[in-house]
Every structure is written in structure tokens, then in C-alpha cells.
Amino acid sequence: MDITTFVIVAVIKVVVVVFILLTGVAYTTLLERKLVARIQNRWGPTRVGPFGLLQPLADGIKFILKEDMVPDSVHKALYIAAPMLALAMSLISIAIIPFGPSITVGGTTTALQITGVVHANGGLSDINIGLLIILGATSIGVYGVALAGWSSNSKYSLLGSLRASAQMISYELALGLSLVGVLLLSGTLSLRQIVDAQGQAPWWGWLPHWYIFPQCVAFFIYLMAAYAETNRIPFDLPEAETELVAGYHTEYSAMKFAMFFMAEYMNMITVACLATLLFFGGWRGPIPHSAPAIVQSLLPVFWFALKVFFFMFLYIWIRGTLPRFRYDQLMAFGWKFLLPLAIVNIIVTSFIVAWRA
């Protein structure tokens, strides 16, 4: 593939992925409102378009048209930079996520991943530290929240951001350690290779070779830590409206508030993608061999999207079901329960891996 084609294909991939991601974010908010409404025996948004389907569009227009206020006593540069940082860091992660093997359109073969590469012999590869890049982007994303609260110069914002950064740092440990079990089994940090490692022959002939089964403890820890990382119920202490008005984004309005909102939902999607890739076999699923080539290359993306949708549904379901933790309970749960459990899981897994080797 010459350099011009490469650049064109890369740009097309970036545009398509970002478009789908932003649409996904918009419709996740609608899904959330609809589902929570049904759980609480209401209808949710119904007025804009059929079944309220155009509601995200109306919300977007509202956010753009609202007055963009900057309060008087904020630290202006950081106040403006914080939402950008949060959004940028949540956008970066999606570049690493593989959505499927590869696709051939008009004689050009390309990987279904922004940073994926197709070799001359047809082999696929991606960044060999993909998982670490996602962890790095999440840890830089903490700055967005921390600086937003501090630069707003308001007590509710500051308390919210202190809670948020403390919570994110604490649960990042459990999150990182929960991934180690999967890494021990697969022996690689590349997301594509981790998914390939889950494509081996099924256990006992019928159970898919997904890491959820040997690593169910790690999956539980990952799920809990991921909810805390994305500040979702039952861990949404940073924006507990009964105590802190709205937490770190109290002083934000219009598009700047929307940027935090989008960053939060994008992080939810990233975390769901990661759970799918690491524990649920990524894009693997039944694919009929008689189907045409284009269907065969797009069906993995469908399985991937289906699994991600399942996790998004779970997010919203839990939001509609569980109450919020108390702050000391949250910290005790993270440090005294999840962290030791993750360490025990690593020790047991490494013993089993060493015993089998």
C-alpha cells in the first residue's frame, strides 16, 4: 500500500470511527433516559421524533445555543482547558480498540482498527502496548476532572474533584491489577493478540475459550473498578447531587458541560469495549462461511457491537437499581476488598500458568 492510499484510508477510518462513537454517545444518553424511565415505570422522552429518537439532536442543539458563561473568579486558562483535556483523553482510547479482523473494499485491505496494520502476507498487527496506552489515557484524564474542580474556585466543585481524583487513583490500582490475570494467560499487551488468544478451541468442545471463565474474579473486579473509574452509580460520589450540587462540573455551562458529559459516556463505551476484548472474546462469534465476503468481514463488528451494547445496558440497569455508596464505604471497598482480591487472583493465576508451562 503506497503512502497516499494509506493516509486516505487512515483518515476515512478516523472519521467513520469518531462519527459512530459520537452517535453512540448521543444515543447512549437516550437509551439511559428511556431505560431508567421504564425501570421507574415512566415513559421517558417521547416528544421529539418517533419514540423520542431525535431527543439527542435536540439536546445537542440546546447545548450549542446556550450561553457559554465563564464565572468571574475562575482560573481562566485551566477552566477552559479542563473539559478539552477530559474529552481529548477519552477520544484517544478509541484509536487503540480493534473492532474486527480486516475488511477489503475495492482491492484495498485494511484492519478494522484505527491503529491496526495489514502486512504484505495478509497478517494483522497493532500497537504492542495497546492496553498500556488506554491505561495511560485514563490516568491523564484524571487531570481534566481534578483541574475542572480546582479552577472553578467553588467549594462544591473542589470537593467533587477531590473525591473524583481520590476515587479514580484508588480504583485505577484495582483496575490495573485485575487486567494482569488476563495478561498472564495471553502473554501479550496487544489487544488484537489478546483477542486472538481467545480464539483457540473451545473448552470441553462447547464452552468458548473466553477469559471470562477462568478469570471470573478478575472480571468482577474489573467491572467494579470500571464503574468507579467512570464515576457511575453506585460510585458516582464525585457528582452526588444531594451533597455537592453537581460535583466538579457545577460551574460549567453550555458546550463545556456537554464536553464533560460526552467524555463520561465515551469512557463508558471505552470501558465496555475493553471488557469485551479482554473477557468476552472481542469480535468472536458464529460467522456462516456461505455468506458473501463483505458480510463475513462485517459480522465480527456486529458481534463486537452487540457485546458492547450488553455492557452499556448493564451500566444503565445498575444505575436504575442500586443506591449510592457512602464515601468511606467506597474507599474501604476499593482498598480493603478489591485490591487484596486482585492480588490473590494474580497469585493463583500465575501459579496455574507456571504449573501448566
Partner: protein, 166 residues
């Protein structure tokens, strides 16, 4: 060629961040300049082909340690620093000292250019995760473990100091 250009760009950003760290009067601005320094260092590691070290640099230094710094600055609500007029000793000895040191380092680098040589990246898997792991857990296992004990002692020291005040 692209490597040299990128190296110069990120090197300049790194130095600019370091200078900005000293010049800024508000502690949070200084802390954020340090983050810029860490991030550009990570990119320089990436240019050398050490992608694992680059990722760890971002996660550990920029992501964990500097967040902690920012956190403490936020908690203490440290204000703008007050400038003193500066000491005469620093002016008389410091600036000539810096110049001499810079000249010395530059002279050694230039005169021993042949013997020092550049960094050679021979193999394709230079700096990948397996090689780093082999270095850490096989060749340099003892220093690695001793470092972790050292850090543990530092943590215990912090706990002891923290308890004494209450």
C-alpha cells in the same frame, strides 16, 4: 530524518516545560509544566523504540505521581509564591557555575564524540515488554527487589511521620 526533527521538537518542548516550571509563580502551573516535561520525555523514549518505558513513564509519572502533587496543591490551596529579591551569592556563584558546567558537559560530549557513539537500535524487538521483563526479573533481579524494599521503607516512614502529628 523524521526522527531527528521529532527529537528536536520534543526536546525543545521538554526544556521549555522545565524552564516554565521554574518561572511560573503559581504551584499548580509549575506542576502542570512538570507533566509536560514527563510527557515529552515519554515521547523521546518512544522515538528511541522503547515503547514500554514510554507508556510506563506516562502512567506512573504523569498519571500517578503528578496527580498526587496536583492533589496536594489543591488540598493545601497553596497561593501564589512571593518573590524575594534574590541572594547575591546565587548571582555571583550560580550563574558562572552554570556556565562552567554547561561548557564542561558540552566539551566532554564533543571531544569524546567518537568514543561515546550514538544509541544503536540493532534488533526489532529492542525495548519491548519481554526484553524489559527479562532485564528486570533475570539480569537485574536483586537491585530491582532491593529498590522495592527501599520504597516500602519510604512508605513506612511517611506513615510514621503522619501518625506522630495526630
Amino acid at each position: 530524518m523524521v526522527h531527528e526533527i521529532l527529537f528536536v521538537i520534543f526536546g525543545l518542548i521538554c526544556v521549555a516545560g522545565a524552564v516554565n516550571l521554574l518561572v511560573q509563580r503559581h504551584p499548580i502551573n509549575s506542576a502542570l509544566s512538570l507533566v509536560v516535561v514527563m510527557a515529552s520525555l515519554a515521547l523521546i523514549y518512544l522515538l528511541l523504540g522503547a515503547e514500554f518505558v514510554a507508556a510506563i513513564q506516562v502512567i506512573v509519572y504523569a498519571g500517578a505521581i503528578m496527580v498526587l502533587f496536583v492533589f496536594v496543591i489543591m488540598l493545601l490551596n497553596a497561593g501564589v509564591e512571593e518573590r524575594s529579591t534574590g541572594s547575591k551569592v546565587a548571582l555571583l556563584l550560580g550563574i558562572p557555575g552554570v556556565i562552567v558546567l554547561g561548557c564542561l558537559v558540552g566539551w566532554i560530549m564533543i571531544s569524546n564524540n567518537q568514543r561515546l557513539g550514538g544509541i544503536r537500535i540493532n534488533t526489532a524487538d529492542f525495548g519491548d515488554t519481554h526484553n524489559i521483563a527479562r532485564l528486570l526479573f533475570q539480569n537485574f533481579l536483586l537491585p530491582f527487589e532491593i529498590t522495592s524494599v527501599l520504597i516500602l521503607i519510604a512508605i513506612m516512614g511517611a506513615v510514621v511521620l503522619g501518625r506522630r502529628s495526630s
